[in-house]
């Protein structure tokens, strides 16, 4: 049986929790043991947030160690840079091409690094997508997470149908159709 370590990073409020829960549910539906580690509380207020999904025959630790992630999904460029070292040598990095200045940059104490995606491409397999633009073109900029998840799903595995059936069960009923469209836009990117 396979084992997979997925890490999802972003900025508090970007909806990383829902993404990790969908991945976890897909893995469970495929018969795996699953553990998901989440961040609640203060960090959710615009801080750097990290969630982990691990699945396999038997999962002990709920977190992924540095250098041990198969897939890293970053919802923001700087967060991709911050956590890229969690990836395995042959790990896959999925980046939502978006920039959110941390307060340290807003107040001028730090500079937002240039060319993050290019830098990361030197060391890792990187696939980026402008989730917000794709989502906007579908008519709802809020479903960018599903776009990014769709792209990541190609590298995580499982069938398209397995993903869609879990999305249907997980997102609010009014948004099923648009989320599925968004997922497919990422998946078929």
């Amino acid at each position: 049986m396979d084992k997979l370590n997925v890490m999802i990073v972003g900025v508090g409020g970007q909806g990383t929790l829902l993404t990790s829960r969908i991945i976890g549910k897909v893995a469970l539906s495929a018969g795996y043991d699953v553990k998901i580690s989440e961040v609640h509380g203060m960090a959710q207020r615009g801080g750097s947030v990290v969630t982990f999904v691990r699945y396999g025959e038997n999962v002990c630790e709920p977190v992924v160690e540095e250098g041990d992630a198969d897939i890293l999904i970053a919802f923001e460029r700087l967060e991709a840079l911050r956590y890229a070292h969690f990836l395995k040598k042959d790990g896959v990095l999925i980046v939502n091409d978006c920039k959110i200045d941390p307060m340290t940059v807003v107040i001028g104490a730090n500079q937002y690094p240039e060319n993050i995606i290019e830098t990361l491409k030197d060391e890792h397999k990187v696939f980026s997508i402008d989730g917000a633009s794709v989502a906007k073109s579908l008519g709802n900029s809020k479903v960018l997470n599903s776009v990014v998840l769709g792209l990541a799903a190609k590298y995580i595995g499982f069938s398209k149908e397995q993903w869609l059936s879990i999305i249907e069960k997980t997102v609010p009923s009014k948004t099923i159709e648009i989320n599925e469209k968004a997922f497919l836009a990422g998946y078929e990117n």
């Binding site: 580690s37 609640h40 959710q44 750097s48 977190v63 200045d101 340290t104 690094p113």
Partner: protein
Amino acid sequence: MAEKIIMLGNEAIARGVYEAGVKVSSAYPGTPSTEISESLAKYEEVYTEWAPNEKVAAEVAFGASFAGVRSLACMKHVGLNVASDPLYTFAYTGVNGGSVIVVADDPGLASSQNEQDTRMIGRSAHVPVLEPADSQEAKDFVKFAYEISEKYDTPVILRTTTKLSHSQGVVELEDRVEVTDKVYERNLRKYVMMPASAIARHLVVEERDNKLQEDGCNFPINKMEIKDNKIGFITSGIPYQYVKEVCPNASVLKLGIVNPLPKKLIEEFISKVETVYVFEELEPVIQEQIESWGYKVKGKELFTKQGEYSANLLRKALFGKDNMEFNKKDAPNRPPILCPGCPHRSVFSVLNKLKIHAAGDIGCYTLGAVAPLGVIDSTLCMGASISSLHGIEKARGKDFIKNWVAVIGDSTFLHTGVNSLINMVYNKSTGTVIILDNRTTGMTGHQQHAATGQTLKGEETYAINLAELCKAVGVPNVVEVNAFDVVELEKIVKQAVGGNVLTVIIAKAPCALLKGQKFPYKCVADSEKCKKCGMCLKIGCPAITKQSDGTVKIDETMCNGCGLCSSYCKFGAIQKVEK
């Protein structure tokens, strides 16, 4: 086959409580414990409430148990300090219906003000402590906790930690088993803790400790895995998972009960293994007791007392290196910040402008301590802002606090702040207290409280009027103001700190993240009019960024249209417009 689903540790605890036939639950929100009550509220069979604080919650649980039903109280670690008064004596009275107190510790300080270890409190209060290691165990251990609570006539603490509470794992669901209410009988020697009864009950408590230490050796929640007889670990909770990850072939004694320790079981394990490591997060609670019995084990000389453990931490301590090679890149920090449209930012912007210091409290508004707002000088515990300000005035006099206020949230004010305010009235303070009334318990994820008009179950109820409450306890000057009206707020704050009477300013505006709110406006910056003065950046709103030419831009998707930035723009370069 039973249904298997993924559950958050906290949801699994709630499920266990439901399955155990519990009828009454009371709690105050606190990360990482909050989701227990929120999940439990969904089960119709269980009465579930938010109490104003943890002391009240624990006493409600006592009352329900005393009346003969199974009961629950839950809280975060520091909440147990507030509840420790009832806890220590509840240990003496024991229970009628089983009673469990779930306490969530926060090693690593994901969202807390200290790293205290609940096992120490369990030990000093003589209350048994159980510690699960995953979601399935969280559910199973809660049910077991009710069994031993009734069998040994004691409240039981179920200790969880952030990593367990906020991790999801696979859980097998079972049905709820209704428990017949116990008969209520008046029993002064057991339930009225005046000295004569308490003297006798203390003996009972000690006997119970001894019995649990013996019987605990046979509890099915402990697990002894003898493999390699050279190296063994005594551990419990989440650290067990790290041991399994790093040393799958080591012998392990995984303790399900961590107070009192099952002494004979531990001695048996030590006799079978050459080198024994005690792997426990935070305090050396297990290690020191084992050493006091005369055994040599390894523990805190290798593993820190601080923070959250990990598999890598164990690996480094044992083998001197990480498993993997990795190259960490420099990236500017991204600390948490107040949200766009947060009313606290508005109040802090005024305090910052007036160069006022604030004694702070527990909530999102602690973020007002850091740049660029930087107005909070102290954060201690729930309710401490008001009493600290009183202490400052009594120490240094009125002149010293003429540029000081206390800031406290609405939920925190009702938790324990009101007691401190009564003290200010009683003992003739003249300070200024600002209640940041955002109509919710914000940081923990928007829970109702006694001034919101809704219960945990979503029923309508009486909403305490904070202004009337302050007036009723005798505050001579109570002023309500819209938190976003910075002109009025500035005037009121100046008057209050300069005046000679105790003043409570209630700055009102709902939390920007409260559900059901509409945001009809957005703010737009005009780069032609922008003079690059940076005034709007001083409020620290994440939606505003400086562009390479020095002018500012407002992110349309992040902006909630509160208009605070436009109030500070002297050049009319920021407009609040309809979306």
